[in-house]
Protein backbone atom coordinates (compact mmCIF):
# COMPACT_ATOMS: atom_id res chain seq x y z
CA UNK A 1 0.00 0.00 0.00
CA UNK A 2 1.38 3.39 -0.96
CA UNK A 3 1.54 6.81 0.63
CA UNK A 4 -1.70 7.91 -0.94
CA UNK A 5 -3.51 5.13 0.90
CA UNK A 6 -1.98 6.10 4.24
CA UNK A 7 -1.98 9.88 4.11
CA UNK A 8 -5.51 10.37 5.41
CA UNK A 9 -4.97 7.78 8.14
CA UNK A 10 -2.05 9.47 9.85
CA UNK A 11 -4.32 11.34 12.28
CA UNK A 12 -6.00 8.10 13.34
CA UNK A 13 -2.56 6.63 14.03
CA UNK A 14 -1.44 9.68 16.00
CA UNK A 15 -4.70 9.63 18.00
CA UNK A 16 -4.43 5.90 18.67
CA UNK A 17 -7.64 5.30 16.75
CA UNK A 18 -6.22 3.07 14.05
CA UNK A 19 -7.32 -0.59 14.17
CA UNK A 20 -4.47 -2.73 15.52
CA UNK A 21 -4.23 -4.84 12.36
CA UNK A 22 -3.71 -1.67 10.32
CA UNK A 23 -1.18 -0.29 12.82
CA UNK A 24 1.25 -3.12 11.99
CA UNK A 25 0.97 -2.41 8.25
CA UNK A 26 1.35 1.31 8.78
CA UNK A 27 4.40 0.88 11.00
CA UNK A 28 6.09 -1.28 8.39
CA UNK A 29 5.26 1.37 5.77
CA UNK A 30 6.80 4.03 8.05
CA UNK A 31 10.04 2.05 8.25
CA UNK A 32 10.36 2.28 4.47
CA UNK A 33 8.94 5.74 3.82
CA UNK A 34 10.80 8.82 5.09
CA UNK A 35 8.06 11.16 3.82
CA UNK A 36 5.27 9.46 5.79
CA UNK A 37 7.57 9.12 8.82
CA UNK A 38 8.30 12.86 8.79
CA UNK A 39 4.60 13.66 8.36
CA UNK A 40 3.67 11.37 11.26
CA UNK A 41 6.32 12.85 13.55
CA UNK A 42 5.18 16.37 12.62
CA UNK A 43 1.59 15.55 13.55
CA UNK A 44 2.64 13.80 16.76
CA UNK A 45 4.63 16.86 17.70
CA UNK A 46 1.72 19.17 16.95
CA UNK A 47 -0.57 17.00 19.10
CA UNK A 48 1.83 17.13 22.05
CA UNK A 49 2.32 20.87 21.67
CA UNK A 50 -1.41 21.45 21.37
CA UNK A 51 -2.05 19.47 24.54
CA UNK A 52 0.46 21.57 26.47
CA UNK A 53 -0.71 24.88 24.99
CA UNK A 54 -4.39 24.00 25.32
CA UNK A 55 -4.22 23.57 29.09
CA UNK A 56 -4.25 27.30 29.53
CA UNK A 57 -7.09 28.63 31.65
CA UNK A 58 -7.74 28.08 35.34
CA UNK A 59 -10.99 28.88 37.14
CA UNK A 60 -10.57 31.61 39.73
CA UNK A 61 -10.96 30.77 43.41
CA UNK A 62 -14.04 33.04 43.45
CA UNK A 63 -15.69 31.09 40.64
CA UNK A 64 -14.93 27.79 42.33
CA UNK A 65 -16.49 29.08 45.52
CA UNK A 66 -19.57 30.40 43.68
CA UNK A 67 -20.12 27.05 42.01
CA UNK A 68 -19.70 25.19 45.28
CA UNK A 69 -22.33 27.46 46.78
CA UNK A 70 -24.68 26.99 43.84
CA UNK A 71 -24.55 23.23 43.96
CA UNK A 72 -24.80 23.22 47.72
CA UNK A 73 -21.47 21.62 48.51
CA UNK A 74 -20.00 24.51 50.43
CA UNK A 75 -18.71 23.43 53.78
CA UNK A 76 -20.39 25.67 56.34
CA UNK A 77 -17.83 26.42 58.98
CA UNK A 78 -19.22 29.00 61.29
CA UNK A 79 -17.87 30.10 64.55
CA UNK A 80 -20.33 28.64 67.06
CA UNK A 81 -18.40 29.56 70.12
CA UNK A 82 -17.89 33.27 69.78
CA UNK A 83 -16.07 34.05 73.01
CA UNK A 84 -18.06 36.77 74.62
CA UNK A 85 -15.78 36.69 77.62
CA UNK A 86 -12.73 37.42 75.53
CA UNK A 87 -11.86 40.92 74.44
CA UNK A 88 -12.65 41.96 70.87
CA UNK A 89 -9.02 42.38 69.92
CA UNK A 90 -8.05 38.90 71.08
CA UNK A 91 -11.02 37.41 69.29
CA UNK A 92 -10.05 39.15 66.08
CA UNK A 93 -6.52 37.80 66.30
CA UNK A 94 -7.86 34.29 66.85
CA UNK A 95 -10.29 34.65 63.97
CA UNK A 96 -7.57 35.87 61.62
CA UNK A 97 -5.23 33.03 62.59
CA UNK A 98 -8.00 30.47 62.25
CA UNK A 99 -9.04 31.96 58.91
CA UNK A 100 -5.50 31.75 57.63
CA UNK A 101 -5.22 28.13 58.74
CA UNK A 102 -8.56 27.33 57.11
CA UNK A 103 -7.50 29.05 53.90
CA UNK A 104 -4.22 27.14 53.90
CA UNK A 105 -6.06 23.86 54.43
CA UNK A 106 -8.51 24.72 51.64
CA UNK A 107 -5.71 25.68 49.30
CA UNK A 108 -3.72 22.57 50.20
CA UNK A 109 -6.73 20.36 49.48
CA UNK A 110 -7.46 22.18 46.24
CA UNK A 111 -3.90 21.78 44.97
CA UNK A 112 -3.78 18.13 46.01
CA UNK A 113 -7.08 17.45 44.21
CA UNK A 114 -5.69 19.01 41.03
CA UNK A 115 -2.63 16.76 41.19
CA UNK A 116 -4.79 13.70 41.91
CA UNK A 117 -6.86 14.63 38.83
CA UNK A 118 -3.72 14.91 36.73
CA UNK A 119 -2.48 11.51 37.95
CA UNK A 120 -5.84 9.88 37.20
CA UNK A 121 -6.02 11.55 33.78
CA UNK A 122 -2.51 10.29 33.02
CA UNK A 123 -3.41 6.71 33.89
CA UNK A 124 -6.56 6.94 31.78
CA UNK A 125 -4.76 8.47 28.79
CA UNK A 126 -4.02 6.50 25.66
CA UNK A 127 -0.48 7.85 25.72
CA UNK A 128 0.20 8.38 29.43
CA UNK A 129 3.64 9.91 28.96
CA UNK A 130 5.28 12.16 26.37
CA UNK A 131 8.66 10.47 26.61
CA UNK A 132 8.52 6.71 27.01
CA UNK A 133 11.75 5.34 28.42
CA UNK A 134 13.03 3.29 31.30
CA UNK A 135 16.37 5.01 30.93
CA UNK A 136 16.92 8.00 33.21
CA UNK A 137 19.58 9.25 30.77
CA UNK A 138 16.83 9.62 28.16
CA UNK A 139 14.13 11.08 30.38
CA UNK A 140 16.26 13.65 32.22
CA UNK A 141 17.62 15.38 29.07
CA UNK A 142 14.14 15.26 27.49
CA UNK A 143 12.95 17.75 30.12
CA UNK A 144 15.87 20.12 29.45
CA UNK A 145 14.48 23.34 27.97
CA UNK A 146 10.90 22.36 28.80
CA UNK A 147 10.99 22.94 32.55
CA UNK A 148 13.14 25.59 34.25
CA UNK A 149 15.03 23.12 36.46
CA UNK A 150 16.94 19.88 36.22
CA UNK A 151 14.98 16.66 36.72
CA UNK A 152 17.18 14.36 38.82
CA UNK A 153 16.29 10.71 38.74
CA UNK A 154 17.31 7.96 41.16
CA UNK A 155 19.13 4.80 40.15
CA UNK A 156 16.42 2.14 40.21
CA UNK A 157 18.66 -0.81 39.52
CA UNK A 158 17.97 -3.75 41.85
CA UNK A 159 14.80 -2.13 43.16
CA UNK A 160 11.17 -3.16 42.47
CA UNK A 161 10.59 0.23 40.82
CA UNK A 162 10.86 0.99 37.12
CA UNK A 163 10.80 4.26 35.26
CA UNK A 164 7.99 4.38 32.67
CA UNK A 165 8.60 7.85 31.30
CA UNK A 166 7.91 11.52 31.72
CA UNK A 167 5.36 14.09 30.76
CA UNK A 168 5.40 17.86 30.47
CA UNK A 169 2.42 19.37 32.29
CA UNK A 170 1.23 22.77 33.43
CA UNK A 171 0.35 23.19 37.08
CA UNK A 172 -0.76 26.46 38.65
CA UNK A 173 0.07 28.17 35.36
CA UNK A 174 3.71 27.08 35.49
CA UNK A 175 5.64 24.33 33.72
CA UNK A 176 6.02 21.10 35.67
CA UNK A 177 7.55 17.68 35.17
CA UNK A 178 5.51 14.54 35.76
CA UNK A 179 7.47 11.31 36.17
CA UNK A 180 5.71 8.00 35.98
CA UNK A 181 7.14 5.02 37.82
CA UNK A 182 5.90 1.45 37.99
CA UNK A 183 5.95 -0.95 40.90
CA UNK A 184 4.42 -4.37 40.40
CA UNK A 185 1.18 -3.50 38.55
CA UNK A 186 0.81 -0.05 40.09
CA UNK A 187 1.90 3.37 38.90
CA UNK A 188 3.34 6.23 40.91
CA UNK A 189 3.33 9.80 39.59
CA UNK A 190 5.87 12.25 40.89
CA UNK A 191 5.25 15.89 40.04
CA UNK A 192 8.10 18.38 40.25
CA UNK A 193 7.58 22.12 39.94
CA UNK A 194 8.93 25.39 41.29
CA UNK A 195 7.67 25.90 44.81
CA UNK A 196 6.28 29.38 45.08
CA UNK A 197 3.06 31.22 45.79
CA UNK A 198 0.15 28.89 46.43
CA UNK A 199 2.11 25.67 46.06
CA UNK A 200 4.05 26.27 49.28
CA UNK A 201 0.76 25.75 51.12
CA UNK A 202 1.15 22.04 50.32
CA UNK A 203 3.46 21.94 53.33
CA UNK A 204 5.75 19.04 54.19
CA UNK A 205 4.80 15.42 54.66
CA UNK A 206 7.61 13.34 56.09
CA UNK A 207 5.46 10.22 55.69
CA UNK A 208 2.78 9.34 53.13
CA UNK A 209 -0.79 10.40 53.81
CA UNK A 210 -4.05 9.11 52.36
CA UNK A 211 -6.09 11.50 50.20
CA UNK A 212 -9.20 10.69 48.17
CA UNK A 213 -8.26 7.01 48.13
CA UNK A 214 -4.69 7.73 47.03
CA UNK A 215 -1.45 7.80 48.96
CA UNK A 216 0.50 11.04 48.60
CA UNK A 217 3.70 12.47 49.94
CA UNK A 218 5.08 15.93 49.32
CA UNK A 219 8.17 17.88 50.23
CA UNK A 220 10.09 20.93 49.15
CA UNK A 221 13.80 21.07 48.48
CA UNK A 222 16.02 23.74 46.92
CA UNK A 223 13.01 25.73 45.74
CA UNK A 224 11.40 22.73 44.07
CA UNK A 225 8.21 21.04 45.17
CA UNK A 226 7.88 17.26 44.85
CA UNK A 227 4.48 15.59 45.03
CA UNK A 228 4.18 11.79 44.79
CA UNK A 229 0.85 10.06 44.34
CA UNK A 230 -0.24 6.47 43.84
CA UNK A 231 -2.71 3.79 44.83
CA UNK A 232 0.05 1.56 46.22
CA UNK A 233 0.72 1.25 49.93
CA UNK A 234 2.37 4.07 51.81
CA UNK A 235 5.63 2.22 52.29
CA UNK A 236 6.18 1.84 48.53
CA UNK A 237 5.59 5.57 48.04
CA UNK A 238 7.83 6.48 50.96
CA UNK A 239 10.76 4.39 49.66
CA UNK A 240 10.56 5.93 46.20
CA UNK A 241 10.42 9.41 47.76
CA UNK A 242 13.55 8.61 49.80
CA UNK A 243 15.36 7.59 46.61
CA UNK A 244 14.24 10.79 44.88
CA UNK A 245 15.42 12.87 47.84
CA UNK A 246 18.79 11.13 47.73
CA UNK A 247 19.07 11.76 43.97
CA UNK A 248 18.26 15.48 44.09
Amino acid sequence: MDCEFWQDKVDAFVDDEMPSAQVRDFESHLRECPACSAETVARQRLKIETRAAGQRFMPSAALQERIREKIGSRKQERWQWWPTAVGVAAALVLAILAGQAWNRAQMRNELAVQLVDQHVATLAAVNPVDVVSTDSHTVKPWFAGKVPFSVDLPNLENTPYSLIGGKFVYFQQAPAAQLLFGIRKHKISVFIFRDHGNTSSLGEESAPVRRNGFVTQTWSEDGLRYFAISDVNGEDVRKLCEMLKAAS
Binding site: D11, E49, A53, G54, L63, K70, I71, A125
Partner: protein
Protein backbone atom coordinates in the same frame (compact mmCIF):
# COMPACT_ATOMS: atom_id res chain seq x y z
CA UNK B 1 -30.44 7.51 44.30
CA UNK B 2 -31.72 9.10 47.48
CA UNK B 3 -33.01 12.65 47.08
CA UNK B 4 -30.89 13.95 49.95
CA UNK B 5 -27.63 12.43 48.71
CA UNK B 6 -27.96 13.79 45.18
CA UNK B 7 -26.09 17.13 45.58
CA UNK B 8 -23.26 15.40 47.46
CA UNK B 9 -22.96 12.67 44.85
CA UNK B 10 -23.07 15.28 42.10
CA UNK B 11 -20.46 17.46 43.81
CA UNK B 12 -18.13 14.52 44.26
CA UNK B 13 -18.24 13.72 40.56
CA UNK B 14 -18.51 17.22 39.14
CA UNK B 15 -16.17 19.40 41.18
CA UNK B 16 -12.95 17.69 40.03
CA UNK B 17 -13.97 18.55 36.45
CA UNK B 18 -14.09 22.29 37.06
CA UNK B 19 -10.62 22.98 35.71
CA UNK B 20 -11.02 21.14 32.35
CA UNK B 21 -14.57 22.48 31.93
CA UNK B 22 -13.47 26.04 32.59
CA UNK B 23 -10.50 25.64 30.26
CA UNK B 24 -12.80 24.37 27.49
CA UNK B 25 -15.36 27.11 28.18
CA UNK B 26 -12.68 29.78 27.94
CA UNK B 27 -11.43 28.41 24.64
CA UNK B 28 -14.99 28.39 23.30
CA UNK B 29 -15.90 31.89 24.42
CA UNK B 30 -12.42 33.50 24.48
CA UNK B 31 -13.65 35.67 27.34
CA UNK B 32 -13.18 35.25 31.09
CA UNK B 33 -16.61 36.53 32.15
CA UNK B 34 -18.45 34.60 29.48
CA UNK B 35 -16.52 31.45 30.41
CA UNK B 36 -17.33 31.90 34.10
CA UNK B 37 -21.04 32.39 33.35
CA UNK B 38 -21.01 29.39 31.07
CA UNK B 39 -19.37 27.04 33.59
CA UNK B 40 -21.69 28.23 36.34
CA UNK B 41 -24.71 27.74 34.09
CA UNK B 42 -23.49 24.27 33.11
CA UNK B 43 -23.10 23.19 36.74
CA UNK B 44 -26.59 24.43 37.62
CA UNK B 45 -28.11 22.67 34.58
CA UNK B 46 -26.18 19.49 35.33
CA UNK B 47 -27.30 19.40 38.95
CA UNK B 48 -30.91 19.89 37.84
CA UNK B 49 -30.61 17.06 35.36
CA UNK B 50 -28.44 14.81 37.50
CA UNK B 51 -31.33 12.41 38.21
CA UNK B 52 -31.36 11.62 34.47
CA UNK B 53 -27.66 10.73 34.46
CA UNK B 54 -27.16 6.97 34.14
CA UNK B 55 -24.61 5.80 36.74
CA UNK B 56 -21.80 3.88 35.12
CA UNK B 57 -21.91 5.93 31.92
CA UNK B 58 -19.38 8.61 31.02
CA UNK B 59 -19.99 11.45 33.48
CA UNK B 60 -17.14 13.57 32.12
CA UNK B 61 -18.55 13.46 28.58
CA UNK B 62 -22.01 14.19 30.00
CA UNK B 63 -20.72 17.35 31.73
CA UNK B 64 -18.87 18.52 28.63
CA UNK B 65 -21.98 17.98 26.58
CA UNK B 66 -24.07 20.09 28.97
CA UNK B 67 -21.46 22.84 28.91
CA UNK B 68 -21.29 22.80 25.14
CA UNK B 69 -25.10 22.90 24.84
CA UNK B 70 -25.15 25.81 27.27
CA UNK B 71 -22.62 27.55 25.04
CA UNK B 72 -24.71 26.97 21.92
CA UNK B 73 -27.75 28.53 23.55
CA UNK B 74 -25.81 31.42 25.10
CA UNK B 75 -25.80 34.90 23.57
CA UNK B 76 -22.24 34.43 22.37
CA UNK B 77 -22.76 30.87 21.14
CA UNK B 78 -25.83 31.85 19.16
CA UNK B 79 -23.87 34.65 17.55
CA UNK B 80 -20.98 32.35 16.70
CA UNK B 81 -23.01 29.57 15.18
CA UNK B 82 -24.96 32.08 13.08
CA UNK B 83 -21.71 32.83 11.25
CA UNK B 84 -21.15 30.13 8.60
CA UNK B 85 -17.91 28.98 10.15
CA UNK B 86 -17.59 25.84 8.20
CA UNK B 87 -18.82 24.17 5.15
CA UNK B 88 -18.07 20.50 5.58
CA UNK B 89 -17.12 20.36 1.92
CA UNK B 90 -14.48 22.97 2.52
CA UNK B 91 -15.53 25.93 0.38
CA UNK B 92 -16.01 28.39 3.24
CA UNK B 93 -12.69 27.94 4.99
CA UNK B 94 -9.90 30.27 4.10
CA UNK B 95 -6.74 28.21 4.26
CA UNK B 96 -3.50 29.95 5.29
CA UNK B 97 -1.44 31.07 2.33
CA UNK B 98 1.67 29.28 3.55
CA UNK B 99 1.88 25.57 2.92
CA UNK B 100 3.33 23.68 5.81
CA UNK B 101 5.58 20.71 5.13
CA UNK B 102 6.66 18.08 7.66
CA UNK B 103 10.16 19.49 7.45
CA UNK B 104 9.11 23.04 8.26
CA UNK B 105 6.84 21.72 11.01
CA UNK B 106 9.73 19.91 12.60
CA UNK B 107 12.25 22.71 12.22
CA UNK B 108 12.43 25.60 14.60
CA UNK B 109 10.89 26.04 17.99
CA UNK B 110 7.26 27.03 18.14
CA UNK B 111 6.32 28.84 21.24
CA UNK B 112 3.34 27.96 23.38
CA UNK B 113 2.01 31.46 22.67
CA UNK B 114 2.12 30.86 18.91
CA UNK B 115 0.11 27.68 19.27
CA UNK B 116 -2.37 29.37 21.59
CA UNK B 117 -2.76 32.27 19.15
CA UNK B 118 -3.34 29.82 16.28
CA UNK B 119 -5.90 27.88 18.35
CA UNK B 120 -7.73 31.13 19.06
CA UNK B 121 -7.91 31.89 15.36
CA UNK B 122 -9.35 28.49 14.48
CA UNK B 123 -13.08 28.52 13.70
CA UNK B 124 -14.93 27.32 16.77
CA UNK B 125 -16.07 23.97 15.39
CA UNK B 126 -12.51 23.01 14.48
CA UNK B 127 -11.19 24.42 17.75
CA UNK B 128 -13.58 22.36 19.86
CA UNK B 129 -12.75 19.01 18.22
CA UNK B 130 -9.01 19.69 18.44
CA UNK B 131 -9.34 20.58 22.13
CA UNK B 132 -11.51 17.58 22.95
CA UNK B 133 -9.16 15.25 21.07
CA UNK B 134 -5.74 16.65 22.01
CA UNK B 135 -6.27 18.35 25.35
CA UNK B 136 -9.08 16.26 26.83
CA UNK B 137 -7.84 13.11 25.07
CA UNK B 138 -11.33 11.97 24.17
CA UNK B 139 -11.88 9.17 21.68
CA UNK B 140 -13.40 10.01 18.29
CA UNK B 141 -16.64 8.25 19.22
CA UNK B 142 -16.90 10.17 22.51
CA UNK B 143 -16.45 13.43 20.60
CA UNK B 144 -19.05 12.40 18.02
CA UNK B 145 -21.55 11.60 20.79
CA UNK B 146 -20.75 14.79 22.67
CA UNK B 147 -21.13 17.06 19.64
CA UNK B 148 -23.92 14.99 18.13
CA UNK B 149 -22.18 14.69 14.77
CA UNK B 150 -21.16 11.65 12.69
CA UNK B 151 -17.82 9.97 13.39
CA UNK B 152 -16.62 10.84 9.89
CA UNK B 153 -17.27 14.53 10.54
CA UNK B 154 -15.16 14.34 13.70
CA UNK B 155 -12.33 12.81 11.71
CA UNK B 156 -12.53 15.33 8.90
CA UNK B 157 -12.71 18.28 11.33
CA UNK B 158 -9.65 17.00 13.19
CA UNK B 159 -7.72 16.58 9.96
CA UNK B 160 -8.73 19.98 8.60
CA UNK B 161 -8.31 21.71 11.95
CA UNK B 162 -4.75 20.44 12.25
CA UNK B 163 -4.02 21.45 8.67
CA UNK B 164 -5.25 24.95 9.43
CA UNK B 165 -3.22 25.07 12.64
CA UNK B 166 -0.04 24.02 10.87
CA UNK B 167 -0.61 26.59 8.16
CA UNK B 168 -1.05 29.33 10.75
CA UNK B 169 2.06 28.22 12.62
CA UNK B 170 4.08 28.15 9.40
CA UNK B 171 2.91 31.70 8.66
CA UNK B 172 3.85 32.78 12.18
CA UNK B 173 7.32 31.30 11.77
CA UNK B 174 7.82 33.09 8.46
CA UNK B 175 6.96 36.40 10.13
CA UNK B 176 9.61 35.90 12.84
Amino acid sequence: MKEGSQPEAFAELALPLMRPLYNFAHWLTRDTHEAEDLVQDAYVRALKGFSSFQPGTNFRAWMFRILRNAFLTSRMGTKMVQVPLEDEEGQEIEMPAVKDTPESALMGARSRQQIQAALERLPVNFREVILLCDVEEMKYQEIADLLDIPLGTVMSRIARGRKLLRGMLAEAQLRR
